[in-house]
Amino acid sequence: MTLLRTQALKKHFGDTRAVDGVDFVVNEGEFLSLVGTNGAGKTTLVNLISAFLLPDSGKIFIGDRDITHAPVHQRIRAGIARSFQLVNLFDDLSVLDNVALSIFAREGKTRRFLAPAERDAAVTQEASGLLEQFGIGAKAQATARDLAQGERKLLDVAVAYALRPKLLFLDEPTSGVSTRDKAQIMDTVSSVVRGGGITAVVIEHDMDVVFKYSDRVVVMHEGRFLADGPPEEIRRNSDVAKYLLGTDV
């Protein structure tokens, strides 16, 4: 069942065709990887879907609902959440507060002002549970800025995940971490996201990661889709090999 689709989505920056008439479909329950060389338009596409940028033309639907012109908070309510390429946390807040805030936002409790946040046992419990799932439960009381890079990446995903979206975009969740941490992060993210029944779109450069974790791979090149299919098919695709891997099949 289709969860999200775009129709002839276009975003140009001057002469650069970042996203050039893309028809993108995400099906419910899949773990999809969006790959491509630098400047292929992956992040721009996610930025358009998440309302970080507005498209020049085209349409975006979640289910049957047209969200092309919906502001960020409405898209989040419609079930879209995202993480960022560069870790985007509330650095001066505790690790627990980072996730708790996401839950408060989801539950519409951010206007409550006459009781300490910690008093909300349900939220605190859920936030602690999530941190345990992501393997950073022991750091709950640490300040977010004091975490190691790999832990920060996990927290970044946990904050987006805590919104309990239908569709979660993860922009390079393993960038800037060691090869060993990469596997650990992807194992954790994949297991939590799949376990939570959430559809995920991951932007990733590391093709080993892509082929190992994805149900489907979409390859972008110069603002358009070059290939779309299961990992094994993408691995054998000669265009992908030429433009993305720089080799022949």
Binding site: S102, A115, A160
Partner: protein, 307 residues
């Protein structure tokens, strides 16, 4: 100790501390914006003045003498002003926010001058303590020799309100709402992508901040006995910023300590030298250079290091 203060310290020092406590309420309100929302206002004199002028105008034109009615009327006026100015200011951040708040507060200062037939112009409006009543008329201060009684009673009145404000602000900054403001301060983009409507929350913070500062103006004016346009002038906003820098704006108690301490500093600097502004300026430079976390912030850091 605070309860025994009037008996131990006498009228003059009680009066000084009462001034300090009223200013501390303003500092609490100001710091909700600076310390917790990341917005530096250079126009908080507007709310101090709104509160103070509300009291004076109600006394002069409506014959009101009840402090509780002054508080009610003054808070409504401050809230209305904050709501209005907030709509204009909170869409901007950093220097643009600071300049806008400064400019708008100076518009009010000009109005207080120009509408002299209402505001008394530079002569201001008197708010004599002898016409004031506390606790629904239970406590009055008739006659000129009632001043010590007024100071003692008023000190306890302000102290009680200060405690209420402190508890209220503590709850606000530790609540989900307060955490949301801190999230906006730390990372506006990420907060937006949690579904937080940034302008709206900044406006709420601006409103609460204006109400607290307005209350400070309401409580300040009976002590001063007079309100003039000076209360709306930009140096008054600068003083409120000074409170936060002096005590430290990244912790809860810093601005409170800063406000009380600044009040003493100013009084003693004025008494010691005619160049008191230079003295305060030097203190500010030393603080920003060597103790950017302020007195309380630095003490907390030192305590953490010693542990």
């Amino acid at each position: 100790m605070l309860l025994a203060f009037p008996a131990l310290a006498g009228t003059y020092h009680t009066q000084l501390l009462t001034y300090g406590l009223t200013l501390a309420i303003a500092a609490l309100g100001f710091n909700l914006l600076l310390g917790y929302t990341g917005l530096l206002s250079f126009g908080h004199s507007a709310f101090l003045g709104a509160g103070a002028y509300s009291v004076a105008l109600m006394m002069r034109y409506l014959g009101v003498s009840s402090m509780e009615l002054f508080i009610l009327g003054g808070v409504v006026c401050s809230a209305a002003l904050a709501a209005l100015l907030g709509v204009v200011c909170v869409r901007h951040t950093r220097i643009f926010f600071a300049i806008l708040t400064l400019a708008l507060s100076q518009v009010l200062w000009t109005l207080a001058y120009k509408f002299f037939w209402i505001t008394g112009g530079t002569d201001g409006l008197r708010v004599p303590f002898s016409q004031l009543s506390l606790l629904g008329g239970l406590v009055r201060f008739p006659g000129a020799d009632a001043f010590p009684k007024f100071i003692t009673s008023y000190y306890y009145y302000v102290l009680a309100l200060f405690c209420v404000c402190t508890v209220l602000m503590w709850l606000i900054v530790h609540s989900p709402f307060g955490k949301t403001l801190q999230a906006i301060r730390d990372n506006e983009t990420r907060a937006r992508f949690l579904g937080v409507r940034i302008w709206r929350y900044r406006w709420y913070a601006f409103l609460v901040s204006g109400i607290f500062t307005g209350l400070a103006g309401i409580l300040w004016v009976p002590l001063n006995g007079l309100v003039t346009p000076d209360v709306l002038y930009w140096p008054q906003s600068g003083k409120i910023v000074f409170f936060a820098v002096l005590g430290g704006f990244r912790n809860f108690t810093g601005p409170i300590v800063g406000a009380v301490l600044f009040n003493y500093l100013e009084v003693y600097a004025v008494a010691v030298t005619q160049y008191w502004q230079i003295t305060l300026g030097v203190i500010l430079i030393v603080l920003v250079t060597f103790l950017p976390a302020g007195i309380v912030g630095s003490a907390v850091r030192l305590g953490a290091k010693l542990k």
